[in-house]
């Protein structure tokens, strides 16, 4: 069959969406089928990562070139088992393929990536896609894994059965890419010979909905048939922003058929899935040859240890230990490097520019604010290196499997573990990683509790308070480490407590079903891990950096204006006079019961932008107070700070209370912004600020007052 006329071909003029538009290929496939590896192999570094407007689903577009050197746009669509969407990711896949999204053109051709070692299940999605009547190329990936399992998969036979090009490949080793590109370069692609009849009892409903979709929703007949099948058998489908709504006529018809079937009590969805699998079974009869007897595979043998009830936990503990060790020790040198260079750059700007507000805005606002975020980049990169390593080897799914049991105690499941793990470095990528959680309530609970995990921005505050609290020469390092660990344990305990509480109150729902595929173990692919690491690092800088830049400027304004009447006033006097200083005085009655004065109040206010700002604020406020001796470390300045009545301000109890405050309080504007974006509402970030900071106040109040009562 010839390629239909409406499809843009390389070099051919296209009238519908502009002349000479590069043809758009969509890449689709099940999770773990090697789709992203193939996408990377085809596009190299020519990739752009964005978002589908209105939904927080990643849009990955790359450019590859045909054998004739013409550009081809390649869209990497989210992985899915079926077009029946259960998560926003899958809904975007479905909507793009069905042409339901106004922001994304319907792809001209579709590359279906399938795992040769698991062909039947992967062909289920292909079967649904062939219904669309679009030109399809099947990339039969992971042929090496199939061979390792003793299977023989006949690509030519499959091509004969389906009637579309089937290219055997191994994306990991770069095999089959030339053949795939040749197929992609073909001016004409045959349309599928695949025919299958829908079960007779639902045929009239399909015909009626199909006709309505064609007449009232401007769908082409084949797409209308495929969409009718989906609509009729996928009643609880997920809808996302950006999808074109159905016409009222189609909507009404659908309602009538649903009512009729509900009354009849027949599960047509199950019948349809079974008939598809039957068709796939017939199709694969001569395509796959399996070994008669097969012993346990390599992955089975590894799983026997790594998923073992004892050894599995031991290995998990080692991996987590290595992760923490790397984040907090390997990152130290590059962090110091960045810190020194940001400071040196600030000094250079200070020395180069004439004194004035613009110079202060650049040095104290922009450079120190953005520098404060950039400094965490090494930790973020190390975290993503580990995440990439664990994902690429297949261990990440096992970690979620192992953590499922403790997570289930608080009403979540193993899927929430991966984002929460990331939150130890930074809540922003962690919240973005919740997108893979199918259940909306579980996802929201995970987003709400993730910032309680002690992120790396809390470290400078903990370190300063521990240094103030415990003199280095008297107290052994283990005591300090123990105190630090206690703060991490408190944050983690908070995560479990609030997840438990939310799942029993606000998001009351029975425990969700979790069903998750564990991919076979594979050697790590360093190139892919590094690519993932830098891609995520850049997204982090872009997301957090831009927000922090804005907030830093606002904060600088709040600490600089109104100006002190005396131009020679000290920095402390200036801060006291500023809006931030006034706010510090204003909140003093609220924070005094926690042992904090107005100067700590300024730190609390300024560090609402980012927790680590507390340290620099304390530096400005107390460092300048002890300006007689510039070399006095900040901790000594803090130790020398007093209340007006002469009592020490930073008593051990106050230091501990401050640490506890930072464990619980929502002191991060970037996280607020990301939560707003991910939940599409201000309600949840505001709720998060209220519950976290409210908890921080209550816990600190109880802690401080109890400490006082006990004589500390």
């Amino acid at each position: 069959m010839k390629l239909s006329a409406h499809i843009a071909l390389p070099g051919r003029k296209r009238t519908a969406s502009g002349p000479d538009r590069a043809p758009v290929y969509a890449m689709v496939g099940n999770p773990n089928c090697g789709k992203t590896t193939l996408f990377n192999a085809l596009t190299g570094l020519r990739q752009k990562v964005g978002n589908y407007p209105g939904v927080t689903v990643e849009k990955k577009i790359g450019i590859t070139y045909s054998q004739h050197g013409r550009p081809i746009q390649l869209v990497d669509l989210p992985g899915a088992y079926s077009l029946a969407a259960r998560s926003p990711d899958e809904a975007v896949l479905r909507d793009v393929l069905l042409g339901r999204r106004e922001d994304t053109p319907q792809p001209d051709r579709i590359i279906c990536v399938v795992d040769a070692a698991n062909l039947e299940r992967n062909l289920y999605l292909v079967h649904q896609i062939l219904d669309l009547g679009r030109p399809v190329i099947v990339a039969l990936n992971m042929m090496d894994m199939a061979a390792a399992a003793g299977m023989k998969v006949d690509a030519a036979e499959l091509e004969g059965e389906l009637g579309v090009p089937v290219i055997a490949c191994e994306a990991v080793h770069g095999r089959g890419l030339v053949e795939l590109k040749l197929a992609m370069s073909r001016l004409e692609l045959p349309l599928a010979r695949h025919r299958w009849d829908v079960p007779v009892p639902i045929a009239p409903a399909v015909a009626e909905i199909q006709a309505s979709l064609t007449d009232n929703d401007a769908r082409s007949p084949l797409i209308a048939r495929a969409e009718a099948l989906l609509l009729l058998t996928d009643f609880d489908t997920v809808r996302v922003a950006g999808s074109k709504p159905l016409s009222s006529r189609t909507h009404d018809l659908l309602g009538q058929w649903r009512q009729r079937w509900v009354a009849e009590g027949t599960d047509w969805s199950a019948v349809l899935i079974r008939s598809r699998y039957d068709a796939i079974g017939r199709l694969c009869r001569d395509v796959i040859r399996r070994p008669r007897e097969s012993g346990p595979s390599r992955s089975d043998r590894i799983d026997a240890v790594l998923c073992h009830s004892v050894w599995g936990w031991a290995f998990f503990a080692v991996i987590m230990g290595a992760l923490f060790f790397s984040i907090f020790s390997l990152a130290e040198s590059p962090m110091n490097f960045i810190d020194e260079h940001v400071a040196a750059f600030g000094t250079w700007v200070k020395g180069t520019m004439p004194p004035g507000d613009l110079r202060d805005l650049l040095t104290d606002g922009v450079i120190s604010g953005v520098g404060g975020i950039v400094i965490f980049l090494p930790q973020i990169l190390i975290l993503f290196f580990f995440v990439g390593l664990l994902e690429s080897t297949g261990y990440m799914a096992r970690a979620a499997f192992i953590m499922d049991r403790p997570m289930s105690k608080v009403g979540l499941n193993g899927r929430s573990f991966i984002p929460l793990l990331g939150a130890y470095a930074c809540a922003i990528p962690a919240i973005m990683a919740t997108r893979t959680i199918e259940n909306a309530r579980d996802r929201l609970v995970t987003i709400l509790v993730a910032p309680l995990m002690s992120c790396s921005a809390r470290l400078p505050v903990y370190l300063l308070m521990i240094a103030t609290l415990l003199p280095g020469d008297v107290v052994p390092a283990t005591t300090k480490a123990g105190l630090m660990l206690a703060m991490y344990a408190l944050g983690t305990g908070g995560v479990f407590f609030f997840a438990w509480l939310f799942k029993r109150t606000l998001f009351k729902s029975p425990q969700q079903h979790m069903i998750m595929e564990l991919p076979p173990y594979q050697p790590p692919r360093l190139k892919e891990i590094l690519r993932h690491m830098f891609e995520r690092g850049w997204l982090f800088l872009k997301n957090a950096g831009t927000i922090i830049l804005g907030i830093s400027i606002v904060l600088w304004f709040l600490t600089t204006y109104p100006k002190h009447p005396d131009p020679d006033a000290t920095a402390t006097a200036q801060i006291a006079q500023s809006f931030a200083g006034q706010a510090g005085h204003l909140i003093e009655p609220v924070i005094k019961p926690l042992g904090f004065d107005w100067r700590i109040g300024i730190g609390l206010i300024t560090s609402f932008a980012a927790r680590e700002v507390f340290v620099s604020s304390m530096g400005v406020i107390f460092g300048v107070e002890g300006a007689d001796n510039d070399t006095t470390p900040l901790r000594d300045a803090l130790r020398g700070a007093h209340w007006p009545d002469g009592a020490a301000l930073f008593t051990p109890l106050v230091c501990l209370t401050l640490m506890v405050f930072y464990v619980f309080a929502m002191q991060c504007m970037s996280t607020v912004a990301v939560v707003q974006r991910e939940t599409n509402s201000w309600r949840w970030p505001l709720f998060q600020i209220a519950y976290m900071t409210g908890t921080a106040w209550l816990v600190c109040f109880a802690f401080y007052q109890a400490g006082r009562a006990l004589g500390y």
Binding site: R86, T233, S269, D300, G414, Q512, H513, I515, L518
Partner: protein, 84 residues
């Protein structure tokens, strides 16, 4: 003479190392559809690898992890060792 009904047990109770045939799915529609679409529907053969609260199984050559609730919703008939 009527045949005796096949004894069905939830997947979480299937002993590790044994194989069963999926006979009935009892979860909500959305879960049942997902399970069927993953090739785990009625008549599929499933081998339990390990686990009691979270189960690890082998279905059509794929390792699948299920939490306790999911494993409770899948009713299987245990096959004798000779029938595998």
């Amino acid at each position: 003479m009527p045949t005796s009904p096949i004894p069905l047990s939830p997947l979480c109770q299937l002993p590790a190392g044994s194989t069963g045939r999926v006979c009935e799915l009892t979860g909500d529609d959305s879960f049942c559809q997902r399970v069927r679409e993953m090739g785990f529907g009625e008549a599929a053969l499933v081998t339990k690898i390990s686990g009691s609260s979270t189960s690890l199984c082998l279905v059509n050559g794929t390792r699948i992890a299920l939490n306790h609730r999911a494993a409770m919703s899948i009713l299987v008939e245990q096959l004798p060792a000779s029938a595998r």
